[in-house]
């Protein structure tokens, strides 16, 4: 494309956005509505994934060591655990350490535990292990159970797997919904823009008689669409960011422990970048579709 033409196209696009003021406003509104719908699902999926990552990162299998095992044997067990392929981390807590932790938790009432010191400590040493691949945690659990010196294995892998499956399902559904929303948006936007194109169909006709190529006619419309898209993106980006902040603050004040949202500062850029490119894409695609059938002269 020639520089002269780029200048011409941009000038035409800007003129058209303003001379079709109401229609541009309607198109911008459509873009905003589409992006907001899209954004709600996007933010939801991002947060679900975020929470799942955290939950999974916290997941551990706990196994108590048989009381009959002495210190050396216990240490040996730890080495064996570390050789299991799916194990990423092995953490040892002796019964003395565990008692200390318990006393910490009891705080002022720690004296209640005074009778359970040293030889009278009823707790057992335990190992906590983390998995590389959570989906294989049940295999790991059964592997661990077969080891000598393992008294008891505590694992909430099943619950987490169910959660993971549910969140994966929700994410996949959301992606499809987002895809559908995008397609629907393109058609709605193209229909809004179509009205302005229709009023210019005679002009398009004239341009073709003078020898304009299809792309020469399309470009101003595409740039106009992108302009509308960018304006829509900025508007919805601002609304979405504030709405998200509001949501976080609301949940923070409710103090629901396990709900852990992505920080505003971490998601704001994502929202706005996605909106920016989606807006440009929606506007350009909408324009392309709506100008298409007027070009057949």
């Amino acid at each position: 494309m020639k520089i002269n033409s780029i200048k011409y196209f941009s000038k035409e696009a800007f003129k058209n956005v303003f001379s079709n003021g109401w229609m541009s406003l309607a198109s911008i509104f459509t873009v905003v509505a589409s992006l907001m719908m899209f954004g709600i699902f996007m933010v939801m999926v991002l947060n679900i994934n975020h929470m799942m990552t955290k939950i999974e990162a916290d997941y551990e299998i706990t196994l108590t060591v048989d009381e009959a095992y002495d210190a050396e044997q216990t240490e040996q067990l730890g080495k064996v655990l570390a050789t299991i392929p799916n194990v990423s981390e092995v953490i040892f807590e002796s019964k003395a350490e565990r008692m200390e932790l318990l006393r910490d938790q009891f705080g002022d009432n720690a004296s209640l535990l005074d009778t359970y010191q040293n030889e009278k400590n009823p707790l057992r040493d335990w190992y906590k292990i983390r998995c590389i691949d959570l989906s294989k945690s049940s295999e790991t659990v059964s592997e661990v159970k077969q080891l000598g010196g393992v008294a008891k294995v505590i694992s909430n892998g099943e619950t987490i797997r169910k959660l993971t499956a549910a969140s994966g399902y929700i994410s996949r559904m959301s992606v499809w919904i987002m895809l559908a929303l995008t397609i629907i948006s393109i058609f709605i936007i193209s229909n809004t823009i179509k009205l302005t194109v229709f009023s210019r169909s005679r002009e398009i006709n004239i341009m073709k008689f003078v020898g304009a190529t299809d792309w020469f006619i399309r470009w101003p419309f595409i740039i106009e669409g992108m302009l509308i898209g960018v304006i829509g993106a900025v508007v919805s980006g601002v609304i979405m960011s504030f709405a998200y902040e509001g949501l976080i603050n609301m949940f923070a004040s409710l103090q629901i422990g396990f709900v852990d949202f992505i920080d505003l500062k971490d998601i704001v850029l994502v929202i706005n970048l996605v909106f920016f490119f989606m807006g440009i894409g929606l506007g350009a695609a909408g324009s392309l579709i709506s100008v298409r059938k007027h070009l057949k002269v």
Binding site: N4, I206, V210, G211, F216
Partner: protein
């Protein structure tokens, strides 16, 4: 040059608008296409511009078979060919200047070329002083001059006009035709479909008369030959 070789055109509804017509127009000629309403004049012009395609036969312009062009090549055919219509076909939201410069934007001309060429054609058609006006602010004759300026700004080899004086009063019509004659003298081939008897009779140019889709007459220095 323009060659029609055994050209027929039947519209989709079955109307046979042109029936096996052949003629040759040399470079630099000025030719009137005349004939009663419905004879097929506009169809002939549309075939030249590739707005319609011939059902059979060949339309050849400057060694190019127009009916063999694909959709992508048509704009380039039209750039070599200024076109003027009865209804002017100006872009309503563009000024006189912009309507003319538009034809140069299409071919990707530079600012410098545009600034040189547009005022020059506007002055040729006598509209320099109205460059900033919009088509709706102009008389019919003035609008047709703008259309003419637009048609000429890229120095086309051909000027094709379909009833360019149809909406104008006799005096204005004559002015437009004088301009066409001027353009022709500079070397542009002019083909003008018309049923303006006075003009045809006065100009004494080649006349191709069409009746019911066939060539009834082709005279070097012809007259209109019909009662309007």
């Amino acid at each position: 040059m323009i060659i029609f070789s055994n050209v027929s055109k039947t519209y989709e509804n079955g109307t046979k608008a042109l029936d096996n017509i052949s003629f040759y127009i040399d470079r630099g000629e000025f030719v009137f296409i005349v004939g009663p309403s419905g004879a097929g004049k506009s169809t002939l012009i549309k075939l030249l511009m590739h707005e319609e395609t011939a059902t059979s036969g060949d339309v050849i312009i400057n060694n190019v078979k127009v009916n063999g062009l694909n959709q992508k090549q048509i704009p380039y055919l039209r750039r070599n060919m200024g076109v003027v219509f009865q209804d002017f076909r100006l872009l309503p939201k563009k000024t006189v200047y912009e309507n003319v410069s538009f034809a140069m934007e299409i071919v990707g001309a530079s600012r410098r070329e545009i600034r040189r060429q547009v005022p020059s054609v506007l002055s040729m058609v006598g509209l320099s002083h109205k460059a900033k006006m919009y088509p709706s602010q102009l008389s019919g004759g003035e609008q047709q001059r703008v259309a003419l300026a637009r048609a000429l700004v890229n120095n086309p080899a051909f000027l094709i006009a379909d009833e360019p004086t149809g909406n104008l009063n006799p005096k204005t019509a004559m002015e437009i035709v004088s301009l066409l004659n001027e353009v022709n003298k500079r070397g542009t081939t002019v083909v003008m479909a018309t049923h303006a008897k006075d003009i045809v009779d006065q100009m004494k140019k080649r006349v191709i008369a069409i009746e019911d889709g066939v060539i009834a007459r082709d005279e070097a220095r012809g007259v209109y030959g019909y009662e309007n």
